[in-house]
């Protein structure tokens, strides 16, 4: 989840000249920060392909071959960094992106396979280790996040599949002594129709691997793609139904010990008093390792380590964070909202002043949130003087690799990362704090060690979705339509820990936060700058809040909170002018046929405007997020403060839908995420989170989940991501329904603070 120069350039184009002047020198700034990223951002995907192609097979097999431990079989012929063909004709396809539930380990390999011309049952997946070949083509940075995997890798997968196919065809043409144009490819076979002969991929793979890699392979026509656009059974699911799927927490390495960890209750505290001897006397305990802000107990089994640690009396040193409390943090936010200073991300027309007219204003509050992945943070590390081997469920391969180099002083090729399945990610696993701890512990005890955080450690030592405070204002014309809109957002950076760092030799500390310059930190205002409403005068400002609470990216990043504010406020405007929320949005989107189609489809499928039983109400919200458009209508039944979520209807236009089954699961699951965030929060007292487990942090359950319908529109526009767009409009859609039913406008989340809850 990071910004690139190219993405930022896009934003400059979007927000016009005035702001472009304000942030003059951005390009240079980015180049200075990360030369390689700037360089790559100028390279198109095509040139990346060419670079890989020109490097040829020797490079693909040598320096850049996945160092993932599953070395290729002797009978496998690599055709490029992404695909090899075995003698039995099966295609070994590399999965560069982390599988954390979103289905990417099915969709991207299937795209390559479709272009290659092979059947699904002939695909063998190989998970990538850290390797520059598998970096995000634009950011030059290996990670999985920001709903970018499809957007970033779709074209590359097709070209890699096509390049491999052309090499196989060229080899078959030589073998059959015919022209390549006379050959066709289907289901792993190359056919020569005139003579009726055919030859399997496996028979020509070795010869194909010796041929030059085509620089500009010819892609199949869309109509010739057999799998893209159709629901494909996910490759990862059978193992997830019989207990055989291996997550990070399931890693077993010969001679391995297990570690439990307890860290300071407040950020930055050090262990001051404890008896290592008492802990060591407990059954199974091998070592007690003191970390800068915590204590790890290493034992034969995790439970032994955990029991010994839980029974230990530890006192913690003070830190400046010890008195942090939600009430004082909220006061501080409010103070900053008045005092600034503000960085202007966008000024359009007369800004938030606009023409004369009625002015409306509201302040919205967004709480801290925990990721609470079902699999707690964990990492297994084996560190020696000459090697560092890591088994970890991570979204942040580049960060993990860089951190391992820094912590061990070893060379890049001495670091070996085995990425496992991730039991949820949601942005949390982009960070590598737990990797650093595992490396430090293994170094100290000298044997492979698996560190597993307890749920309590996980929830109280998260890098939280930051709290945000938002003053939104509008100037209305005589019809109640906004002619000007203003946003003042107080927010920390979401990118502190995950912003791409300088190249390896310049590394300072990969585990420490760095604040990107404010002009890059548009994540705090994303969804506002990209709002599609035709409002001629706009001003979007951010006060950068220097949070002492660790914060980072969280599924929906800035889009979720900002959409809640914008779309709730649009309904406030509609209510003030006694206008229908759908009709007002339609007017603000006039001329944008793509957006209107999405809005109208959701409204039509949800029966917008049709009578409802007493106590029922509908709410609507619309978003432009993660490269796609989405509209949602929530229907609720309300009794007093008890909300029964009846139905949520979504219309989504991600450009094209590569796999309707996987896409639907992302949207429906995302809505559950969005509803959960309406009632969960993290609050602080004495420097510590007040929620530590699923009793006090209560995500949505099955019995509270509404019926959901997801409708897709394929406009053919640029591909959008599916992982995070689903929950973006959910908060506003539900709160707009609550307001429609009760007249009560929720401007502060969670809704439980206003006494509401789901039943």
């Amino acid at each position: 989840m990071s910004l690139s120069a190219s993405r930022f350039k896009h934003k400059i184009a979007e927000i016009g000249e005035i702001v472009a002047k304000e942030i003059d020198g951005v390009e240079d700034g980015f180049a200075a920060l990360d030369p390689s990223a700037a360089l790559l951002s100028r390279a198109t995907r095509r040139t990346v392909l060419k670079a890989i192609a020109m490097s040829g097979v020797s490079l693909a097999i040598g320096a850049t071959l996945p160092a993932d431990g599953s070395a290729e079989a002797a009978d496998e012929s690599r055709l490029n960094a992404w695909v090899g063909i075995r003698a039995d004709g099966k295609a070994v396809i590399v999965v560069s992106q982390t599988e954390m539930g979103q289905g990417i380990s099915t969709t991207l390999p299937v795209v390559l396979a479709d272009e290659l011309g092979i059947l699904l049952q002939d695909i063998v997946l190989r998970d990538a280790s850290f390797d520059p070949a598998y970096r995000h083509p634009q950011y030059n940075w290996m990670f999985t996040g920001n709903s970018e995997s499809i957007q970033a890798f779709y074209d590359l997968m097709r070209r890699m599949g096509a390049a491999a196919r052309e090499m196989l065809v060229a080899a078959a043409a030589q073998r059959l002594k015919v022209k390549p144009e006379e050959l066709s490819v289907d289901a792993g076979k190359i056919r020569h129709a005139p003579s009726g002969r055919s030859i399997g991929f496996g028979a020509v793979a070795a010869a194909a691997a010796r041929l030059p890699v085509p620089g500009a392979p010819k892609l199949k026509a869309q109509s010739k793609l057999a799998f893209v656009g159709r629901p494909v059974p996910r490759f990862d699911l059978p193992a997830k139904t019989d207990g055989s799927a291996k997550f990070g927490i399931d890693v077993a390495v010969p001679g391995m010990l297990s570690a439990a960890l307890k860290r300071s209750p407040w950020p930055g505290g050090k262990p001051s008093q404890y008896s290592a001897e008492t802990i060591k006397a407990q059954p199974g305990v091998v070592a007690v390792v003191e970390l800068p802000d915590g204590i790890a107990v290493v034992a034969q089994t995790y439970w032994q380590a955990r029991k010994a640690l839980d029974s230990a009396k530890i006192t913690w040193g003070a830190a400046e964070t010890k008195d942090l409390a939600s009430s004082t943090i909220a006061d501080d936010y409010r103070h900053r909202l008045e005092q600034g200073p503000f960085y202007v991300h966008l000024q359009k027309g007369d800004g938030d002043a606009g023409t004369a007219g009625k002015r409306m204003e509201a302040v919205y509050e967004i709480p801290f949130q925990a990721h609470a992945t079902m699999e707690p943070m964990n990492c297994t590390a084996s560190v020696t003087d000459h090697s560092c081997e890591i088994w970890v469920p991570t979204q942040g391969m580049e960060l993990t690799h860089g951190l391992a180099m820094r912590e061990t002083g070893l060379q890049p090729e001495q670091i070996k990362i085995h990425r496992t399945l991730a039991g949820g990610g949601f942005g949390r696993r982009l960070l590598a704090d737990f990797v650093k701890q595992a490396i430090q512990i293994s170094k100290r005890v000298g044997v492979p060690t698996k560190l597993v955080w307890s749920r309590e450690e996980d929830m109280t030592h998260d890098a939280y979705r930051p709290a945000m405070l938002h003053r939104i204002s509008a100037v209305l014309d005589g019809t109640g339509k906004p002619r000007a809109i203003g946003h003042r957002v107080v927010s920390p950076s979401h990118l502190l820990y995950v912003f791409p760092r300088p190249t390896f030799p310049d590394l300072k500390d990969w585990s420490s936060p760095i604040a990107p310059p404010p002009q890059y930190d548009s994540m705090a205002v994303e969804g506002l700058i990209s709002a599609l409403y035709d409002i001629p005068n706009q001003r979007i400002e951010q006060h950068y809040y220097d949070s002492k609470i660790p914060v980072s990216v969280w599924r929906t990043t800035g889009h979720g909170p900002n959409n809640f504010v914008l779309e709730s406020f649009i309904d406030e405007l509609a209510a003030a002018a006694a206008r229908d929320p759908l009709e007002l949005r339609r007017e603000l989107l006039r001329g944008n046929n793509r957006a209107l189609k999405v809005l109208d489809l959701a409204a039509q499928k949800a029966g917008w405007g049709q009578p409802l039983p007493p106590g029922h109400a509908r709410g609507l919200a619309f978003a432009n997020a993660f490269g796609g458009l989405i509209a949602q209508v929530a229907e609720i039944e309300i009794r007093g403060k008890d909300i029964k979520l009846e139905r949520i209807v979504s219309a989504v236009d991600p450009g094209r839908v590569l796999d309707p089954g996987i896409a639907e699961s992302n949207i429906a699951g995302g809505i559950v995420w969005g509803i959960s965030a309406l009632r969960t929060q993290i609050t602080f007292k004495n420097g510590s989170p007040e929620q530590s487990n699923f009793d006090s942090f209560d995500p949505l359950h099955l019995w509270e989940t509404p019926r959901m319908e997801v409708h897709f529109i394929e406009s053919g526009e640029k591909l959008g991501g599916m992982g995070e767009i689903g929950p973006v409009p959910t908060s506003a859609a539900v709160c707009n329904a609550i307001a429609a039913a009760t007249g009560e406008r929720i401007r502060s989340l969670p809704i439980t603070a206003a006494g509401f809850n789901f039943v």
Partner: protein
């Protein structure tokens, strides 16, 4: 340390173990069956659900000593070849996303079907109280209904 003996997935097992060890960690660390997951340790999320004499229980909050002489079935023992109707329905409906909570979900659903062969929506609401952060609940409900019809 105490010797605890019970039936695990149809096999007699025994371990010389701290009897207070949660059944979850005994299953994972003593017997090496990692399909049963740790999620919360306080019986709130259900990722650790196994069958104890046929009932769905949260193994993180039961000491291994409670299994003495009884029958424990984990996800690995539900069927030899993913042939349990719930497992088949889970694949047919493409239920899992990250998959971490799904062993527990499947064990809870299998116990429900054993008790109520044709569960209503209300029965499913009452029986499936596990947490899934990916939000697979919609397909879980559909898959349970589909498995019940077989």
């Amino acid at each position: 340390m105490t010797v605890i003996a019970f039936d695990l997935n149809g096999k007699s097992v025994r371990a010389d173990i701290d009897p207070d060890t949660p059944l979850l960690w005994a299953i994972r660390e003593e017997f090496g069956l990692t399909g049963t997951k740790y999620g919360c340790g306080i019986a709130a999320c259900g990722a650790c659900t196994v069958h104890l004499d046929g009932d769905a229980v949260r193994s993180c909050s039961i000491p291994v000593s409670a299994a003495q002489g009884r029958k424990v079935v984990t996800i690995e023992g539900l069927s030899k070849d993913r042939s349990h109707p719930i497992q088949k329905a889970w694949i047919a409906h493409q239920v899992p996303q990250c998959g971490y909570c799904q062993s527990g979900m499947i064990m809870a659903a299998a116990a429900l079907l054993a008790q109520i062969p044709r569960p209503s929506d209300g029965d499913i609401d009452s029986a499936i109280t596990n947490i899934c952060r990916c939000g697979t609940y919609k397909r879980i409900r559909e898959a349970i209904h589909a498995a019940a019809k077989r």
